[in-house]
Amino acid sequence: MRKLCDTLRTAMEKAGLQNGMTISFHHHLRNGDYVLNMVLETAAQMGLRDLTVNASSVFDCHAPLVDHIQNGVVTGLEANYISSAVGRAVSEGVLAKPVIFRSHGTRPSDILSGRSHIDVAFVAAPTSDPMGNCSGKYGPSACGSLGYAFADAQRADKVIVVTDNLVDYPLTDASITEDFVDFVVKVDAIGDPRGIVSGTTRMPKDPIALKIADYAAQAIDASGLLRDGFSFQTGAGGASLAVADYVKRMMLERKIQGSFALGGITGYMVDMLEAGCFKAIQDVQCFDLRAVQSIRENPNHMEITAAQYASPTAKSTAASNLDVVVLGATQIDTDFNVNVHTDSNGYIIGGSGGHTDVAEEAKLTVIVAPLSRARMSIVVDKVLTVSTPGKSVDLLVTQYGIAVNPARPELAEALKAARLPVKDIQELRQMAVAINGPAVPRLQLTDRVVGQVLGRDSRVQDVIYAVK
């Protein structure tokens, strides 16, 4: 059978794309992705309307999506993360229907269970053969892991692979295989490599981030989890990455042989793998060129699917085997609830990603954040949006001290025994107020819901209101 189509439009027509359908995308090409815009542009040309876009994440490069919403091509949006360009428009009420936010684990769970139906999945593939055996590891737009695309490919009614690097059949090291793929389209470019992965992920120099990381690493050590068999996840942002550096030093100095590193992977985690800190990397998303090279060349650097990463309904996941995760926050309240969806002015600037999943699953969840950013206290009385419930969070580490969730008294004792500056979270809140001065909030949101944040049980955990 012939799957290869001459144009994207042909593939979309053959797939039977109709008004009102749901189309899906993965975000492995991150802020360099061309495919989502390309598909919506084609849909607009075809005169399609009322589509729902279900994307694992939406980045600023997807700003044209706002136009397609305004002209009625798209009327529904579901994502695990929406950065500020599209987020701002959503907060201002561009969509009549609320956006549905899931986590990286809940999205594949809902897709695989049939709760979230996808009519046509578009799989941007840095390399594919004409039958749709495809991979993210090779080609000019290489992105490494294709972890977020698996559930879509498995359960969508039709699957269209979009590639800019068509190779002879069969592609031997394929991630998503031909048995799931209906059509294949070759285009000039699926993305801008500069936006897909950064050249190198750099260690932060910001002294506050380093101070926070130092405390966080000492707290991880004091928890007793840093021993042979240790498993670890950390983000690619400032303080999170610096924690990895401190943890690496401790592991090498004390010859600790860890089990695995998890999550979005940077060159820094690759260095730790190669230095012998871990036996394996379980990689759902590559952040830089070194991670892409490693997943291609190192058999101990495994690609995992989003469901395998963190699905709450899977029989087990990498997240459920995780010891320690280090995560960020835009706000955390005195009940340890974390907001990573909205900024202090109520605008959508992100989303859970895997935050909610790994926080719930890991044995120790460490939130690293400065006490305030540019006069806005990170520790607040009540978060604007509950992204990750406080019961999943064990520690908040700031440059002014560490707050331990009262549900973990033994952890507080361990930290005090290690002479770490343990503080009540209320005390941190008061310190922030003392430094920044008392705020007189005038923030007023409307009562119109523009976003629903689903919890790991797939029920509405919180809602996001339109800004005025």
């Binding site: 202090s344 002015n345 950013r373 540019a374 006069r375 806005m376 430094i435 920044n436 001065g437 705020a439 007189v440 909030p441 005038r442 923030l443």
Partner: protein
């Protein structure tokens, strides 16, 4: 102090405020753009009025772009701008 000519102080970095001060025929006029307007806008304007009064400035136009500066930084940047604007020679 008398505002003799335009002057600036501060930066656009996070936790700083960039203050431009200009002569004004009558009274104090403050145009503030702040990332924390919803929380501290009134407080920042009040701090500026107090600082100008303490410096004996009764007429000036202030254009300020704030990225979350603390009160002490706002006072300092405004003070520097006023001093620069009240010097005889035109600031470079």
């Amino acid at each position: 102090m008398e505002i003799k000519h335009g002057a600036m102080a501060g930066t656009l970095e996070s936790s700083d405020i960039m203050v431009t001060i200009l002569p004004n025929p009558d009274g104090i006029q403050i145009d503030l753009t702040s990332s924390v307007e919803q929380y501290y806008g009134d407080s920042i304007r009040a701090t500026m009025h107090r600082t100008l009064e303490a410096l004996g400035v009764s007429s000036a136009r202030i254009e300020a772009v704030d990225h979350g500066a603390l009160d002490c930084t706002i006072q300092a940047r405004l003070t520097t701008a006023v001093r620069r604007a009240s010097r005889e020679e035109v600031a470079k």
